[in-house]
Amino acid sequence: MIKKLFKNKNLNLIIGTVIVAIMVLFMLVGIFAIPYESTDISASLKFAPMSLEHPFGCDNFGRDILSRVMEGTIATFKVALGTVIIGTFFGIIIGGVTGYFGGIIDEVLMRVIDAVFAFPSILLALLFISILGSGTYQVTIALGIAFVPSFSRIVRAEFLKAKNMDYVRMARLMGASNIRIMFVHILPNIYPVLISSIMIGFNNAVLAEASMSYLGIGVQPPEPSLGRMLSEAQTYIFKVPNYALFPGIAVILLILGFSLLGDALGEK
């Protein structure tokens, strides 16, 4: 199947894969061979310019920006991944149950989802953070919950469409249980839709994490995150533009790569 995808010379797919591969490589280097400790402070290196020792330069505490971008990308990626996993998991369960069974469960759950959906997801995440407290895990959970409504709506719509198809009736006649029909018979049919919405969700999660950290409630200092770095760099944007530039590029590449890949996989 993968071979077939590449044969079509799908440009989105090729570019997306290359960018994602670069970002994954970048993060792997960050995990296994990070050049400097990302929290090491050095007064003599304050705002050191780009050089061979510090390719991206140093920040206001003399910390190596390259290392911090690496660790920040990892932190952001972790939060986004966790968010998407939580959102997709509960989205599939809630959307599947409401779409497939309908009736009172559907009415009740969907009204709850509607109420949750009425809040902008960032605002909702802020609400959860005020309950859970700030920190990486709390942000992941809060964003994950905020992402459940949109996923469950997409899944519900697909299940609604599928449950009246004859192949579902046929499976029922043959004695398949509801759970088996939902997850073995219907779910594979919604993979294309699910993959694109997961990719879109992932991108939104990257942005949301960056804005949460920008507001100072995500990843806690001194641990780096792309959003935090952008917010700190704001003060020095004219003096040291590279401080803001590289975390910004990392965010853009992360989002661009995954959205191109999502587009290509969703097309088919």
Partner: protein, 242 residues
């Protein structure tokens, strides 16, 4: 001859509210229908659109709520649907679908399942390679063959074919009907054949029932009904075809 399905006083009503505050509107789709399907026969069910043909099928398979009595001799009745495009799961290969039918029947040995799937695909006149294909890679006639094979996979005694050939063009229709006849003879199936096409019913069925607005207006041996129709509606139907 034993009856494989006996239907007594079957009544199906659908009620619907036009809006949340208006009164329920009840529509009687089937009104006091009685018939039986004998073992090993092909029973035709003919009627115009909206006469309740498919509702009878759904009631027998317990897919709609009904009043009255439906008695089954066979434990796993199966159905062939009208539209072969929505009756096969588009995400699964033909072989998987065949094996799933056996798995659901309780066959845990995957080698046995594979062997039986191979046997069935040949029985419906397709070659082994079709097991590896997705439904979208098949033509309408091939799909309907797969649907028939799938319905027969659990070895049912009773089969409902709801407009099974109506979506196909005439030459393919003839092939599928031939296949259905052949499988009927080979496996000793009883079939309830639902159609609006009088010619097809004449060629395939031993007995026929004519349905009009939820009531059976005439039934009997095909030759008898076709040569000597009693009811006004039957006469009209026949004169429109022959």
């Amino acid at each position: 001859m034993n009856n494989i399905v006996t239907v007594n006083n079957l009544t199906v009503k659908f009620s619907n509210r036009k809006s949340a505050f208006s009164k329920k509107v009840t529509k009687t789709v089937l009104d006091d229908v009685c018939f039986e399907v004998r073992e090993g026969e092909i029973l035709g069910l003919v009627g115009e659109s909206g006469s309740g043909k498919s509702t009878i099928a759904k009631a027998i398979l317990k897919l709609v709520p009904y009043e009255g009595e439906i008695h089954h001799e066979s434990d796993n009745p199966q159905m062939i649907f009208q539209d072969p495009y929505s009756a096969l799961n588009p995400a699964k290969k033909v072989g998987w679908l065949f094996e799933e039918a056996l798995y659901l029947k309780g066959e845990k040995d995957s080698l046995v399942r594979k062997a039986k799937a191979l046997e069935m695909i040949q029985m419906v006149g397709l070659s082994e390679e079709y097991l590896e294909r997705f439904p979208r890679e098949l033509s309408g006639g091939q799909r309907q063959r797969v649907c028939i094979g799938l319905a027969l996979m659990q070895n049912p005694k009773f089969l409902i074919a709801d407009e099974a050939v109506s979506a196909l063009d005439v030459t393919i229709q003839a092939q599928i009907l031939e296949l259905l006849k052949e499988l009927h003879d080979k496996m000793g199936l009883s079939i309830l054949f639902i159609s609006h096409d009088l010619k097809v019913v004449y060629n395939l069925c031993q007995r026929v029932m004519i349905l009009k607005s939820g009531k059976i207006v005439e039934s009997g041996e095909v030759k008898e009904v076709y040569t000597n129709p009693q009811h006004e509606y039957t006469k009209q139907l026949l004169s429109s075809v022959f």
